[in-house]
């Protein structure tokens, strides 16, 4: 455990060894910045969680005053520094409380959670597609694949365009689109995606963003017969697969099954999702 991290107190009665797949602890915020109006970036020092974290997983944060935790995707994983970066948008009371945490203060984290993206070590070309606040989790993928990745970053408008320097720094070819043309191409992400797919060399498409976008991305990948994984959202309770709150309808081997976003996901093969 690194300096400043507070793992659970050794409960009086706690005996025996546990192999932890995830942990809950209080960890310090090393950096906090506003990237755009209502969009914040935070670097958390959490060595053991960072050690275990994989692209596409999420952390479950408890904002002060809330009963329920808030799931936030991991944006960057720095195993050497023992840090995770997250980027979130203020939507309601919980994310607002998180945005009020200052650098140096602690946040209550449970993670890493969920089933992340499948990394193909041999892949020659992958496309990562982010829409709005769905862009941050794509960054860790871009960082894994570097020049082998094409990152398509879609936003509504220039004022919420974020993380472009980081995407460029990852080495990925980065294509910026906005709905209103105020930055980059005026296009939906599916246009540049189809251009990439048309090249015929794409091994995998990864996507995170609004559900309608994911649906179009999945359809495009299917059209070109390319494997596709999407990151889904659902309201959560436990975040670890026990309470069955985060249900989502899946189709597996022709059968309809009830999956759970926190454990079976948040990343699903696009063909399993019932749109």
């Amino acid at each position: 455990m690194a300096d400043g991290e507070i793992s659970r107190p050794p409960f009086l009665l706690l005996k025996g060894e546990i192999v932890m797949a995830y942990e809950q602890m209080l960890v310090p915020v090393l950096e906090k910045q506003a990237l755009a109006k209502n969009i914040y970036r935070m670097v958390l020092q959490c060595r053991s969680i960072a050690q275990q974290a994989a692209c596409g997983q999420f952390v479950h944060l408890l904002p002060v005053g809330c009963t329920l935790r808030r799931p936030i995707s991991i944006c960057e994983i720095n195993k050497a520094a023992g840090t995770l970066t997250i980027v979130f948008e203020v939507k309601g009371t919980g994310t607002d409380a998180l945005a009020n945490v200052r650098a140096g203060e602690n946040v209550d984290i449970l993670g890493p959670l969920g089933h992340g993206f499948t990394i193909l070590p041999e892949a020659k070309h992958v496309v990562v597609v982010g829409g709005g606040i769905g862009n941050p989790p794509m960054l860790s993928l871009a960082q894994v694949y570097g020049e082998r990745a094409t990152a398509i970053c879609g936003f509504r408008s220039a004022n919420i365009v974020t993380l472009q320097d980081e995407f460029h720094a990852s080495g990925a070819e980065t294509i910026l689109c906005t709905d209103d043309g105020t930055a980059g191409r005026q296009d939906l992400v599916t246009e540049p995606l189809k251009e990439q797919l048309a090249k015929g060399d794409v091994d995998m498409v990864y996507a995170c963003g609004p559900r309608p976008m994911l649906k179009f991305v999945a359809a495009a990948a299917k059209e070109y017969g390319v494997r596709c994984e999407v990151s889904m959202e659902e309201r959560m309770g436990c975040g670890i697969g026990a309470c069955l709150v985060c249900a989502c309808q899946l189709e597996r081997e022709g059968k309809s099954v009830m999956g759970h976003v926190c454990k079976d996901g948040p990343v699903f093969p696009a063909e399993e999702v019932v749109w």
Partner: protein, 303 residues
Amino acid sequence: MANLAVNVAGVSFKNPIIPASGVFGYGREYEKLFPLSELGGIATKGTTGQPRPGNPAPRIAETPSGMLNSVGLQNPGIDAFLERELPNLLTKDTVILANIAGSTVEECVSIAEKLDETDVHMIELNISCPNVKKGGAAFGVHCESAEMITAAVRKATKKPLIVKLSPNVTSITDIAKAVESAGADSVSLINTLLGMRINIENRRPILRNNVGGMSGPAVFPIAVRMVWQVAQAVSIPVIGMGGVSSGTDAIEMMMAGASAVQIGAAIFTDPYAPVRIISEMNDWLDAHHIASVQEIIGTVQPW
């Protein structure tokens, strides 16, 4: 170290803390955080005769100091439970309470019969889920139906039988007395209170099921009141729950009359809640030089 052991309906618990049905699954996920043997017991997710997919999502909403859920009894069915989950749970050195959630008397009886043949320690019959309807109302909101279903399940099993009561009633003591007379060995309360939240931007209920069950700290005063009333009305032991989130909450629930305490929503806020609460109870008892937690049960002195 205070003695935390309690006894409910002839079953010994190493401590009074039991994760409540529905929030803990079958323990597999929390076992990655702490050993299940730390717990007094585990109440399993409500089991039906056949597998059930539950309600469509969203199934959860936050409320002031609480939450609503409308999971709707998603579970793999009794046969899968017996085959895949129970054997593993029975190795965990903690009391297992198998929660039954059938929607007909026959279904409940058949599940109870199957459980009766296992080594499960106790049966908790849920007659109070706001989603289990029989002729338009849950069994648990009328004395006659509560008594009838309890009597039927009673006949089907020799296991200690806990009946879990609904707070959505005019008189919870009447229902408690009815199930006592029908042979219940214990009652557990409270299940969730029916509530609703609306997303005013799209004018839709937040829960896809429109309404859901409210639990968490917000309901704690209602739960304490009901446990207190029921503990005075019946002579079988009461298992208290509803909004317990700290060791002192659990002590308060026990002073109101509970012999053991279940923990629901608090585990979402803090996944260690059950073991933290055990530890906090112990600290409080030690600080007050109380040798055994049993000494505090039902000791509140009304004015």
